[in-house]
Amino acid sequence: MKRIILRTTSNLSFAGQIIENNLIEGKGLLLRTNPQYEMSIWCPFEEIASIVVNGEVTDIGNIPEDIEKFMYYQAN
């Protein structure tokens, strides 16, 4: 699975793979930053400012549904 970059509303970026079953009750996603470890980072939707997938930067508002659709689209 490809790596994506999440830029948070706190202006810190995280990169990694969205792990399966990523959408926890529609509130966010889990990002595995290091493929060598099982550890993943919980990213609430409301804290995601933009997403970079396949070299395309998409700014996200505070609408979790939009992010959810976007992530499903990109991940599949």
Partner: protein
């Protein structure tokens, strides 16, 4: 796991200053923080600190041959930027395929100075954690994940042309960042005193300081719980060797509730750690100083900068000597050693004002046993006084950045010469650094008096 080489160089040429760096060795925070962030993302940071790693160019080349880094990052300060560029040039000549990135204070205040060197591939401006990590992702994915054009805070070279991306905004929530891993530089290098940073940014606009340009004007803090976690990590790493924390934030005591909480945790968990911090005389009170003393604080550092109220006003320090003396007296009465920073050679200094500084230093040393350090005012790039140097009547006697060292004067005006500054410095020399400015046991100096 891709290796990333991170290099820090010494700032000093003289052996005495270099030796003091070893006694109080602490790794460079900027590189440590970047190392932690890229390691979180699966990269393997290899940190070389040439302040203590006495490596020849041949041995650096051997490390590069062995580690095969995909990227080499340099932390450039004004004083060592030319040395860093020379090393980078030689590395690029030997390893043409390896990308080189410059970050650090000088890369932020004068990126164009670095960008004109064709062997530099990237420059990370301002806070580098996210920029550096995104550059790694772009290199590894051959720009499939992200293109260099889309990385804020980055200057990059493509087809011999330098592109300047938009500025990256400061990190709002510092607690989102991973804790730094000091063991990356080797635990055996540490002494008993460990530096910690708990905040970034400064709202003040002192004309000699580049902090607002480097870290922004907004004061951002880490939660004390998060800071305490880092302290426990250091304790676990260094065990009994770790005795003293030095909070090197520009101003640790801005938010009193944070200071009180730290004091409470230090007592509650019985760590028996002493600590010292940087502060300002306008954000301190009798009440907080007593709590600090009870909570293990043995020294507080104030930047006073001049013994003249006229000069303080002109350099936008926004304090008065009366405020300063009161804060010094209160700390002394609370049993905390007071360490003062002052400078000679402000643009508005005269012989009379420099004598005022000397008189102030003598009085503070005699009445409050203050430990005092005096430097020569140095107009660093990124400061207001550097930008307005001609208008302020300052003349640089050296344009070499390696001379921007604070321990030798490089500025004169119609009112004072280089020689004058040396003369005033030597007049006050017996009063300077009397308690070795941070050596073990200094905290007892005042407490024994009470």
């Amino acid at each position: 796991m891709d290796n990333i080489l991170l290099i820090n160089l010494s700032g000093y040429e003289n052996k005495e200053a270099k030796a003091s760096e070893r006694i109080e060795y602490n790794p460079p925070f900027g590189l440590l923080s970047i190392a932690a962030h890229i390691e979180l993302h699966g990269y393997n940071p290899v940190l070389i600190d040439l302040r203590c790693d006495n490596l020849t160019f041949s041995s650096i080349k051997e490390i590069i041959k062995e580690k095969k880094p995909i990227l080499i990052g340099f932390c450039a300060f004004t004083i060592n930027v030319d040395k860093a560029l020379l090393l980078a040039r030689n590395i690029k000549a030997a390893f043409k395929g390896i990308k080189i990135l410059f970050g650090g204070p000088h890369a932020t205040v004068q990126p164009e100075y670095i960008a004109r060197h064709r062997f530099i591939d990237f420059i990370a401006v301002k806070e580098g954690e996210s920029t550096f990590m995104e550059v790694c992702e772009a290199i590894v994915s051959n720009e499939e994940t992200i293109r260099f054009e889309d990385i804020p805070g980055l200057f990059f070279r493509r087809d011999e042309k330098v592109f300047k991306n938009n500025v990256r905004k400061p990190i709002e929530d510092l607690d989102l960042m991973p804790l730094v891993k000091r063991e990356l530089v080797g635990t055996e290098k540490f002494g008993y005193m460990v530096y910690i940073i708990t905040s970034r940014g400064c709202p003040n606009n002192c004309i000699y300081c580049a902090c607002p340009v480097l870290a922004g004007a907004r004061y951002r803090t880490r939660d004390i719980d998060n800071v305490f976690l880092e302290i426990m990590d250091i304790k676990h790493m260094l065990k009994e060797k770790f005795k003293l924390i030095y909070f090197i934030d520009d101003t640790f005591t801005v938010l009193k509730e944070r200071v009180e909480l730290f004091c409470h945790l230090n007592r509650k968990y019985n760590l028996n750690l002493m600590w010292r911090c940087e502060s300002r005389v306008d954000v301190i009170s009798k009440e907080i100083l007593h709590k600090m003393s009870e909570g293990g604080c043995i020294a507080v550092h104030y930047g006073i900068e001049s013994g003249s109220d006229y000069v303080l006003e002109k350099i936008h320090k926004n304090i008065t000597l009366s405020q300063a003396e009161n804060a010094i007296k209160l700390a002394y009465e609370a049993g905390i050693l007071v360490c003062l920073y002052l400078m000679l050679g402000h643009y508005c200094d005269t012989q009379e004002y420099m004598q005022d500084t000397i008189d102030f230093v003598k009085r503070m040393a005699e009445e409050y046993r203050a430990d005092i350090s005096i430097n020569y005012n140095t107009p660093y790039p990124g400061t207001w006084q550097y930008t307005h140097i001609d208008k302020l009547g300052m003349r640089l006697v050296s344009g070499k950045y390696e001379d921007f060292a604070c321990y030798k004067p490089i500025v004169e005006t119609d009112n004072f010469s280089i020689k004058d500054q040396y003369e005033y410095y030597y007049r006050i020399l017996p009063y300077l650094n009397k308690y070795n400015f941070g050596m073990e046991g200094f905290g007892k100096i005042n407490k024994d008096n009470h």
